[in-house]
Symmetry: C2
Subunit: 158 residues, 2 copies
């Protein structure tokens, strides 16, 4: 997994390769029951409150810690999500007003799909808070679980 967060630029770009077709990665992002199986740090439980993957559709999910405290995010899909790309606005309930935009692309070549997550913010300070808030740890855990999930789905499909 590669993370690029350049100084002075309100953006984070994450790339990672998966040995799976992009259709399976897309399903892992678009089907609530699958999202629940990989998204978020290992010690938090995810509840997908809403997930309507179409232009103007809303999404909302909450990460719960062991004490039952919830950390909810929500936003909208811009454009109909496809196995090529997903565009979503994001807002963390604990930081209302700090909105950011996320582009996820799935690029498949010879059975390997490169996932790119491109996130842009209105201010470098917003980006820095996002990175400081455990992004790296959460992403590594999420991507490892996503890898496991799409491999399992690929096996089941064989």
């Amino acid at each position: 997994m590669k993370i690029v967060a350049e100084p002075g630029v309100p953006q984070v770009v994450v790339t990672r390769e998966f040995r799976a077709p992009r259709e399976l990665l897309f399903r892992a992002y678009a089907e609530p029951f699958l999202v629940k199986r990989w998204l978020g740090p290992a010690e938090l439980e995810l509840v997908v409150n809403q997930l309507d993957p179409r232009h103007g559709g809303r999404w909302r999910w909450t990460h719960y810690d062991k004490a039952g405290k919830g950390y909810a995010f929500h936003g909208l899909y811009h454009g109909d999500p496809t196995p090529e790309r997903i565009v979503q606005t994001y807002e963390f309930d604990h930081a209302p007003g700090t909105v950011y935009l996320n582009l996820i692309t799935f690029d498949e070549r010879d059975g390997v799909t490169t996932l790119t997550q491109n996130t842009v913010f209105f201010a470098v300070e917003d980006r820095d808070r996002y990175v400081a808030g455990g992004m790296d740890r959460g992403l590594r855990a999420s991507m490892a679980k996503l890898d496991e999930l799409v491999n399992r789905l690929a096996e089941e499909a064989r």
Copy 2:
């Protein structure tokens, strides 16, 4: 009017002051009949096809040149627009897939409202195309018409 577009940063920040209360500026952004009176270059006619200023609401407008050729933009509102701030996704029909996010804030002090338009893109190249596509000219014309409009609305309200 001040425009900041730093090299290597996928962002444009525009600021301008108006001698009018922010409620009037907000109305000029949120009411289709008023939007039509100021938005866009002087030589193009604006048709507001859709404008639903609430969280998840859609907007769409088309600039028509004298030959009748249309240039349409569309997107979604993230969060309910208020006289403090408006957050919108944007996409130009002639550049499908190039989505960007716009934050407009209205900051009023002593009868003067500072409008800030903060636009972020997924790539510096997208920002550069946006700037090269006549942004400066269009913005200057729009802001001058907006100034005239809010001054007239302020006079009518007296």
